[in-house]
Assembly symmetry: C2
Homo-oligomer: 306 residues x 2
Amino acid sequence: MEQLIETEDFETALARRAREVEATLDRLLGSASLEGEIARPDELMRAIRHGVLGGGKRLRPFLVLETAALFDADDNAALRVAAALECIHCYSLIHDDLPAMDDDDLRRGRPTVHRAFDEATAILAGDGLLTFAFDIVADDATDLPAATRVRLVSAMARAAGVGGMVGGQALDLQAARIKPDEAGVVMLQAMKTGALIRFACEAGAAIGDASPGERERLSEFGQAIGLAFQLADDLLDATSSAATLGKAAGKDADAGKATLVSLHGVEWTRRQLAGLVDQATALLDPFGARAGLLREAARFVAMRSF
Amino acid sequence: MEQLIETEDFETALARRAREVEATLDRLLGSASLEGEIARPDELMRAIRHGVLGGGKRLRPFLVLETAALFDADDNAALRVAAALECIHCYSLIHDDLPAMDDDDLRRGRPTVHRAFDEATAILAGDGLLTFAFDIVADDATDLPAATRVRLVSAMARAAGVGGMVGGQALDLQAARIKPDEAGVVMLQAMKTGALIRFACEAGAAIGDASPGERERLSEFGQAIGLAFQLADDLLDATSSAATLGKAAGKDADAGKATLVSLHGVEWTRRQLAGLVDQATALLDPFGARAGLLREAARFVAMRSF
């Protein structure tokens, strides 16, 4: 019963944070402009809003916000960084859905950006969002010392770039052809989905001006739940239908891509997930009761698949 | 005769700077990695190198370097920012060349990235390059105060984003359909190509810790040669062959896109160009003889079309 109540609290908190992030994104996208901007590319901005607003659990922003909250950090700065990270996540979905990539028609139960608009606009919408993410973090309105902002820009670029998410996507493209072994699959996933989730926790620690030890701990927490997230995603892909998923299902198997589920089976993967949750929550011990929502987040990430 | 010698000096300097930038890009791309990166996406890195190295006049980096040199700025920092800006320029070319955009097979006389590799890799190569540009500027190795680095990140994001280059490209997509008037064409071009060129000059001023007055002057200089660059490009497109251009020619007219050349003719455009060069060089008067190469750059940008 206590477990149930905690879960409900978590989902309420997740939904509340998602609304805050949605409002922040809406406001930031409304103000997106160059000083001296002369013409407004309305179609592009509509495509960007389609790709960013109105959906998603906003898990990465939640992790930024709740990690920063461990240190009573300024909510405005954390919300801006959280929104920037969500821009990066959403740009990656827009480009990932393109015909030359995953060729998906549906995302969160709605048409993908290139279906609702066109391919060229979807490419530019992704490019614009990625660029905007750095604009948001670097701006003076992100009320953090310049040294913190520039460190966040640097860490975000690394998590999103050729050594992180984009590199992981490139490895994923080759995966059907090259058939990586188990270590290769783990590496690919750590880059493709793990890097941004880890960055979310590291960003919260940086915003909160955490000690080096706390930073390291939260980075490891992020790494553990990033891996859990991917395992849960693989389980979902292997066991769900498109109706529950809101997007095409069974794609990994169709594409001949190895996952830990295909290598080890569903039961093994569930046991791994439980181990990762234990590891993640143990990392939060020094933060005591304040880390309650982050502990629940770790369970939530893993439980999506049950 | 004096004019001829000056031009040779400029072209020697441009070529020398291009070699410096090429070496910097080569070195930076060779070191591109996440701390703890586990797998190297080799195909992606080859595609990125194909799109960035081995070509181009490196005009934007030249403007960063020579503007910074007015203030005896640190060459290492200026080279890194110059290389980052070139990454942004090259990413925009890679995405612009895609089938869904301009659908070009040739760039600088070589196959475009999506022709040499494939579309998905070209999309990711562009995404990776754009992200890497921010990584380069924000990194501690860019030996500038954190406040300067974060200001550069912010200005670069605005020049490249929805209120700058990407916004201009989106307006350009609609141009064949919507047929903007003369003011609309000027606005579109100021965003699409002008914003990055202006940023190049502003960045040099920021790296050199210029006074507010000097910054404003160099920003106006960048704006003037950005406009001149686009006029010269339109003239080239209207009057050249693919052989001299190294890429497809006459595309604007084919696409039904208005340019100032199509609206006013070649002679009018040449007079406009001459006026912009006078305006740009006059803005450099307070910098005296030190600004000789920048004056030549303004003439070079305009003379490409003669």
